[in-house]
């Protein structure tokens, strides 16, 4: 195989950092208060004062996009981390537990996959009240099945490997085998899955907030900004651009980053063997 650079990793990193730095700058110092309205300055097009223009309440769209990107990235990170941990735990359990238990776990995971995310988000909102938490939870739970399926498959595969069979023959306890022998080779694929899941989580969170579930106004989220802009599609169609482009760049960056990281790691581990 020809040895080449890793453009996916490079471009992905740049795009992700671009949006991430927007979010970080927004936390430190946004040009305007992202929630402050100015009804006299509605629907102003892009200008020096407002590079992304102003929205239907005269709020500065750049500041809102900054606020929203920060929220999008951090909530996706949190929900995927939690979802991955839960999924890995369930997957390991399913692979190692007695047959009846593992069947039960995997059918529960199936049920989770078939359960509508919107209902999940509504339920979480009813139990945990307002704000970001319910939507983070809903996204987190919907991340569980893919991680648990992957983990289960890999652990079962790994179980058949020689080193593990040897360790078992020597009488090593199960937890030791899992931590020292099964996880390291599995880690590569989990990391790849993790990075690409973040892109998916950003998309899912934004579509939930497009439907009005998730971050509550006056705070901004990318999906909510889009659904607000939708009402002015005939009169001010450019309103869908700032938040939409940011969302596209962010998800594109994260996906490329995931792919790049994946090929980097597989190459490393292939080299290492």
């Amino acid at each position: 195989m020809r040895r080449r650079g890793n453009p996916s990793l490079f471009i992905g990193l740049i795009l992700t950092l671009l949006v991430a730095s927007l979010g970080i700058i927004g936390v430190l110092h946004s040009p305007y208060d992202p929630e402050a309205m100015n009804l006299m300055q509605r629907f102003n097009g892009p200008s020096l004062e407002h590079p992304f223009g102003t929205d239907h309440f005269g709020r500065d769209m750049l500041s809102r996009v900054m606020m929203a990107s920060g929220t999008a990235l951090s909530s996706a990170l949190v929900s995927v981390t939690l979802g991955a941990l839960a999924g890995i735990a369930l997957g390991t359990l399913a692979a190692l537990a007695p047959r009846w238990l593992s069947t039960l776990v995997m059918r529960l995971v199936d049920a989770l996959m078939a359960f509508p995310t919107i209902l999940l988000a509504l339920m979480a909102a009813a139990i945990f009240g307002r704000g970001l938490l319910p939507s983070v939870l809903a996204v987190c739970i919907s991340m569980v099945p893919s991680f648990s399926r992957l983990t289960q498959a890999m652990v079962m595969e790994g179980r058949e490997r020689l080193s593990i069979k040897a360790a078992r023959a020597y009488g090593a306890p199960a937890w030791r085998i899992v931590i020292f022998h099964m996880f390291p080779p599995v880690l590569t694929r989990l990391v790849t899955q993790f990075t690409s899941a973040i892109g998916g989580a950003v998309l899912l969170e934004s579509s939930l907030s497009f439907l009005g579930l998730g971050v509550q106004p006056p705070s901004a989220s990318l999906g909510m900004m889009l659904s607000e802009a939708r009402a002015y599609l005939l009169t001010y169609p450019w309103q869908v651009l700032p938040s939409g482009i940011t969302l596209l760049v962010l998800v594109l960056g994260l996906n490329l980053l995931g792919d790049g990281l994946g090929s980097l790691l597989t190459r490393r581990s292939a080299d290492g063997l």
Partner: protein
């Protein structure tokens, strides 16, 4: 592949245009299509309180009496009526030959059966609990006896939920049977509901088919109207510009009989202090709010009373926009350091959400920190309206025809008093209003009640919304009524 579709599409649309636009020598189109955002909540007028139902059912059923655009009571199923001297007995004479769409005669007996149905299983039966007897005098004459004087009794028979139905028909929700100009032809939820001419109806009717087309999105309604796929749409203020100055369209903008307010929970600690409520009223620039959210299409109000009703009195200007005064009042009430209030907004009503957010922004400026939560309509109804667990909320109410039924939700003991407003003097005024026959005195009481609300400001009264309908200019006879009804039998296309 994409290209192929687009080409075949534009062809399709072109031919569609030819079929729907007027101006051809052929007869005027015999169909009216109105875009609506939601399906009706069933077609049984006794079984729901939903405006979307009545806008349809008012064309399928008739009420004993109805209203004109000014809210004056006029004949409908009953061609005349008399009120006894003590005001307790109302006697109606039915139109001759009134027949249900299933061919059965609608005589006094049938009307009685319909009202018995309303009284026993209607969701509004409470409103009619004053009726103590229904007597069939002859085939075309029926009288209603009230246990106590109710000066607005006649209006009870005009509301669309008092429609006369065939009480023996099964499942009116999906198989309505009435005496109105139209009957149900088909209904595919979230798609369309089609009414066709009821052959047993002999009154005015110009168009044989009425279609309600469900389009949740306002922008799609506008393009559908332009493309000739619908004939009547209700638009928001920002979209009026799309049609203004073009002779092809007529714009009908009229204040509806409704009102929108930010309700406050008068039982919550901070808001039980009238000074805090006054401060909130001083803190908001109502004109800017109406301009910002409704593009100026609304009549500001100072009390819980739509401007279109005859007993309306102007109570605006009691608490003009004055943030400094608002801060003073808050300091007097002991909230110089600010307060935090919970605001709940119903998600399905974008304009209420927008209004709430604008108000929250104004309140922030005077030191009231508002934490906003947008909830689903069902949640809003359950937790806010019925559960009364809130500080602030923005909502609208549909109008009634008289001051009593409009204002009775402010009675301390009313189950509909979600503002938790309590004022014994106001309760006494309500009682007096309902038994006062003298019209001059009654109007005085109505004014006094409005004045009391305007002073005590249990809510921030925003506006009587102006409804804006857009139709092709060839469409005539479309009217806006002070209650939630449409009269499509009066609509026609002119041939000019």
């Amino acid at each position: 592949m994409l290209g192929f579709f687009l080409i075949s599409c534009s062809g399709g649309e072109g031919s569609g245009d030819g079929g729907t636009t007027t101006g051809t020598a052929a007869a005027a189109p015999s169909i009216i299509r109105m875009a609506v955002t939601t399906d009706p909540d069933g077609l049984d007028p006794h079984a729901t309180a939903s405006a979307s139902t009545f806008q349809v059912t008012s064309n399928i059923y008739e009420t004993l009496v109805t209203v004109d655009e000014q809210g004056v009571i006029i004949p409908d199923l009953a061609e005349s009526w008399t009120v006894s001297e003590d005001g307790l007995v109302l006697t109606f004479t039915l139109r001759e030959g009134a027949t249900f769409s299933n061919g059965l005669a609608c005589d006094a007996q049938a009307v009685k059966a319909s009202f018995e149905r309303l009284l026993s299983q209607g969701v509004r039966s409470q409103d009619y609990s004053g009726i103590s007897g229904i007597d069939v005098i002859d085939e075309r004459t029926i009288s209603f006896t009230f246990s106590e004087l109710n000066v607005s009794a006649l209006t009870l028979f005009a509301y669309p939920w008092a429609a006369v139905v065939d009480a023996n028909a099964q499942d009116l929700r999906t198989n309505p049977v009435g005496t109105g100009p139209y009957m149900l032809s088909s209904w595919v939820p979230q798609q369309e509901l089609v009414l066709t001419a009821n052959p047993s109806y002999t009154g005015e009717r110009h168009v044989d088919t009425v279609e309600f087309i469900m389009m949740p999105d306002m922008t799609s309604q506008v393009t559908a109207l332009r493309g000739g796929q619908v004939d009547i749409i209700l638009v928001t203020g920002d979209l009026v510009g799309q049609f203004e100055g073009d002779d092809a369209w007529s714009i009908l903008a009229a204040p509806g009989n409704g009102l929108q307010l930010m309700a406050m929970n008068n039982a919550s600690p901070a808001l039980s202090d009238v000074r805090v409520r006054q401060a909130i009223n001083h803190a908001v620039d109502k004109d800017a709010l109406i301009e910002g959210v409704w593009w100026g299409y609304g009549e500001p109000i100072g009390s819980h009373f739509p401007v279109v009703l005859s007993e309306y009195v102007d109570t605006n200007g009691l608490y003009p926009y004055n943030p400094d005064r608002a801060r003073e009042l808050l300091a007097e009430a002991g909230y110089a350091d600010g307060i935090t209030l919970e605001m709940y907004l119903p998600r399905n009503y974008q304009e209420y959400v927008n209004a709430g957010l604008v108000i929250a922004d104004y309140l922030k400026a005077v030191g009231i920190n508002v934490s906003v939560q947008i909830v689903e309509w069902a949640t809003w109804l359950s937790d806010i309206y019925n559960g009364r667990g809130y500080d602030l909320t923005v909502v609208g109410h549909t109008g009634r025809l008289d001051a009593y039924s409009l204002l009775s939700r402010y009675r301390s003991s009313s189950a509909e008093n979600y503002l938790n407003y309590s004022d014994p003097a106001f309760d006494a005024l309500l009682d007096e209003y309902s038994v006062t026959v003298d019209e001059v005195r009654r109007t005085e009481i109505a004014h006094e009640m409005q004045q009391r609300l305007a002073e005590a400001v249990p809510g921030l009264y925003i506006q009587d919304p102006i409804q804006i309908y857009v139709t092709p200019s060839s469409l005539k006879g479309f009217k806006v009524f002070p209650i939630n009804i449409f009269a499509f039998n009066e609509v026609y296309f002119s041939q000019e």
